[in-house]
Amino acid sequence: MREPLVWFFIIGGLLFAADHYLSDQPDQVVATTAQKDRLSKLWETQTGKPATDSELESLVENWVKQEVFYQEALRLGLDKGDSIVRRRLIQKLGFLVEEVEDKSDEQDSVKLYYERHIEKYTLPVRYSFSQIFFNRQSQLADIRSKLDSGVSWRELGENSMLTVSVTSRSEREITASFGKLFTNQLFTLVRGDWVGPIRSSFGFHLVKLERILPSEVTPLAYIEKRVVADYQQSMREAAIDAYYNELLVKYDVIYE
């Protein structure tokens, strides 16, 4: 039995028989219990009442009719080359891939994600300073001499809506209330004594830079909920990308 031709005929004959047998069987349209439930639920949301037996019967009949047409349309290949069908299938595949398993319980994955995106969870450099505000440069000498004679800085200068003591704020936050002009000069100051005046779009400021906190990472334990949410979102996006890349291997893409 080493003759390939003999094998060819045997296998070919079997395939032919199988095909003949299978194609004689009519295609099945099964109205499952689940399908019936779905139809009756849909009816209920649309009409506000449960479907009666006869209504349900006609819903199911209608569904069967559509399903027969649908299967026949597929058999005839009507789905091919139809832009609506194409788009819907693509969307559907997308939704499918997005439904990633929830792995947030797995501490390791979350931790890994956190470490990989540590820059997202890193606090910027933050500044703490106090400022005495005044409107006219001519007020400077008076404020200076009062400071030197021991008057509390909080009693000097003019009331303004600007915060007098800023605690641990980033460049962006300080700029949002004091403006760029002010922040640019703030960064050149050394910590310690009252310096200035610094000019801003509000007026003049004597500034005492008290503390500069370096950029530092927020420990995972403090922001775990946020990291888990970010992680899940990234998994959804990554799944779609990875799936696409994997599929690409199966296709030769030719740009003409």
């Binding site: 849909l42 949301t45 649309q46 506000g48 832009s83 609506i84 788009r87 819907r88 969307q91 559907k92 939704f95 499918l96 891939v97 990633v100 398993e101 994955s109 890994l112 994600y113 470490e115 990989r116 540590i118 820059e119 890193t122 606090l123 933050r126 003019e158 009331n159 303004s160 809506m161 605690t167 641990s168 962006r172 700029t175 949002a176 004091f178 403006g179 801003s200 779009s201 509000f202 007026g203 503390r211 500069i212 906190l213 370096p214 950029s215 530092e216 990472v217 927020t218 403090y222 909920k225 946020r226 949410a229 979102q233 998994m235 990554a238 799944a239 990875a242 799936y243 994997e246 599929l247």
Partner: protein, 639 residues
């Protein structure tokens, strides 16, 4: 299907391998960073707080639509509530028109407030895995093209929604899923001390001819009723308030904020209830219990007042939208503006002893792009692909004139504004503190600028240069939103104080708007109370001298060195009468700047459109302070 799924674990595995590859380096880099920095103690604990008993100003937007709003989705918005909150914190978000939107300065609080009715429905129609997508009216939803075809599709759906078959697209599951996602997103992005979110939605009721009765419902807590109360439940706002009362009894504290009274055709603040009966003290209680605030300014115009209502207010003609909402029908002026409603309120109080219109003010955008509205010089308007191009919003001529000869698109978008922010004075940036400020009406609204405005009234206010000015003002006076009872032998003082937006124009003048009931009728007066550039208020006209600030319409540059960074004064009313019922609120005006339509025109190299204001004066409005007479006015009139 099963084959597709089986690929997933493989791709995820690859993803994880790739992730592993990178993380070692990141760690190392981080170690190097921390070792080289100064040896300060960690500040991560305790969290820095702005906690301030004299309260800080926080800015936010409580009127934000995302992909879950039926109209926003069809106009091209696919941004989720998550995207909206990330935008508010400073992240760039891509407009469906293909450009990035980003805030210059992040906001302090934000509330996604999608339309409650048909919440999520249109988006579900475009998702082929849903039942809704199979409905006949969903046909075409997966192939939304340009703005013209989108509007056509929208028209078709609106027609269906108005038919007696509209129930067919009420899908309880879609509704619930969208609402749950909105709640979850708000809770996920709430970062106490830094960024506050609110669970919210819009109750979108209208009268039969586009009389706008919309309000946003804002929840205080981290949970909300199972489903929102929508116009499908009732188009009568009184039913909404009853529902809010009932939910409040079950632990869901909320308040409603009406908006676009300007487009209500007189319905928002009319002097009859929904059924046409005269207003009653029950009505006033019900309304005020649920609606302490009103939105005074947003993209669809400003509702402070109208030139026809306030002929002696030279600044009344500001961002007036003459039409009803979503319509070209003109909106009746009476009953549509905030100042008139406040005035009717004190009249009613005087005559009948109740006031249904004793509200504070905020601004908000009503964006349908999830992303505020942008600034005058960086404006993206609010309805997706409909109005993201200057030509579409009528600021730049059409390539070809219209058939009727018009040079500009025939649209009401040209009357819209780059506007609407809410300001609050709160101890810290948390839900509790900000919500309590809403309830106290210690709020202000702006036309988009971040002017801060303080307003106190009292009989013994401290001097302006008092070191403990604010502490004493809170101790001895009442802040905006509050009540002061007049005393016979002392005139009230007002502390009026505003600071500029560091990214906006300097301030030009500080004003107090007063209304009082005289012989049963309320009358208004606008007082300038502080002037920039050393100007003095004229005691006869109550006006500042013109500070001469101008705008160069070739490039929108403004006068350098004119205007003030801050304006403040202790003011007393020269016409004060202790026997009169009155309210007072502050309006702050910036120096003039280019309107968005002028920026559009300049950038397109065409002259600004002649029938639009080329410049505007950005502004802020405080909530009012009400003063009740020292003795019942009825007694006095008998004397």
């Amino acid at each position: 299907m099963s084959i597709d799924r089986s690929l997933l674990p493989v791709s995820l595995f690859f993803f994880l391998i790739l992730s592993l590859g990178g993380c070692g380096d990141a760690n190392k880099e981080h170690e190097e960073k921390s070792s080289s920095s100064e040896t300060e103690a960690s500040t991560i604990l305790p969290v820095t707080s702005d906690l301030n008993s004299n309260r800080n100003a926080y800015f936010g937007d409580l009127h934000v639509h995302t992909m879950y709003s039926f109209d926003a989705f069809i106009f091209g918005t696919t941004a989720s509530p998550d995207d909206a909150y990330e935008f508010a914190r400073g992240k760039a978000l891509r407009h469906p028109g293909g450009f990035d939107m980003q805030l210059k300065v992040p906001l302090d609080f934000y509330g996604v407030s999608d339309h409650g009715f048909y919440l999520g429905a249109l988006r579900a129609m475009a998702d082929p895995s849903t039942n809704l997508s199979k409905h006949e009216v969903a046909k075409g939803m997966d192939e939304l093209g340009d703005s013209v075809s989108r509007r056509k599709q929208f028209g078709k759906i609106l027609q269906f929604l108005q038919s007696d078959r509209s129930d067919e697209i009420l899908d309880a599951e879609v509704f619930k899923n969208a609402w749950d996602d909105i709640i979850a997103a708000a809770n996920r992005h709430y970062d106490p001390g830094k960024f506050t979110t609110f669970i919210a939605y819009e109750y979108t009721a209208s009268g039969p001819e586009f009389e706008n009765l919309h309000r946003n419902v804002i929840f205080k807590g981290d949970s909300a009723p199972n489903l929102p109360f929508t116009r499908i439940d009732s188009t009568n706002p009184e039913d909404l308030w009853e529902w809010m009362d009932e939910k409040r009894r079950n632990g869901y504290e909320s308040l409603a904020i009406p908006h676009n009274s300007n487009g209500s055709n007189g319905e928002m603040f009319k002097l009859l209830d929904f059924s046409g009966n005269p207003l009653s003290s029950n009505y006033a209680d019900l309304r005020m219990r649920n609606e302490p605030l009103v939105e005074i300014s947003q993209v669809k115009g400003t509702s402070d007042t109208h030139p026809a209502l306030s002929p002696n207010d030279e600044w009344a003609d500001f961002e007036i939208m003459p039409t009803r909402v979503a319509s070209r029908l003109l909106s009746d002026i009476n009953g549509s503006y905030v100042r008139e409603a406040l005035m009717n309120g004190i009249e009613l109080q005087q005559k009948k002893g109740f006031n249904p219109y004793k509200f504070g003010v905020i601004g908000s955008s009503d964006t349908h792009n999830a992303t505020y509205a942008g600034d005058e010089d960086n404006y993206w308007s609010k309805v997706g692909l409909n109005d993201d191009e200057p030509v579409e919003r009528g600021s730049v001529p059409l390539p070809e004139p219209r058939e009727d000869g018009g040079l500009y698109a025939d649209t009401y978008y040209s009357t819209w504004s780059a506007a609407g922010l809410a300001g609050v004075w709160a101890e810290e940036n948390t839900r509790d503190a900000i919500y309590e400020a809403f309830r106290r009406k210690e709020t202000f609204g702006t036309s988009g600028t971040r002017i801060k405005v303080r307003f106190f009234a009292g009989h013994d206010l401290p001097e302006l240069d008092d070191v403990a000015l604010l502490t004493k003002a809170y101790e001895r006076g009442i802040p905006m939103g509050g009540d002061l009872i007049a005393v016979l032998d002392a005139e009230p003082e007002f502390l009026v104080w505003a600071a500029r937006d560091v990214n906006g124009a300097p301030l030009q003048r500080l004003q107090v708007i007063k209304a009082t009931v005289r012989d049963g009728k309320s009358v208004e007066t606008v007082f300038d109370v502080a002037c920039a550039d050393g100007g003095e208020v004229d005691s006869q006209t109550h006006r500042c001298p013109d500070n001469g600030a101008s705008v160069n319409l070739d490039d929108c540059t403004i006068s350098a060195d004119l205007g003030a960074a801050e304006l403040k004064t202790i003011w007393q009313d020269p016409d004060y009468d202790a026997s009169e019922r009155a309210f007072y609120y502050v309006r702050v005006l910036e120096n003039p700047t280019c309107r968005w339509s002028t920026w559009d025109a300049i950038r397109s190299g065409v002259p600004p459109r002649e029938d639009l204001h080329a410049t505007i004066q950005e502004r802020a409005w405080s909530s009012p302070i009400w003063i009740s007479p020292a003795e019942p006015a009825s007694l006095k009139s008998r004397e």
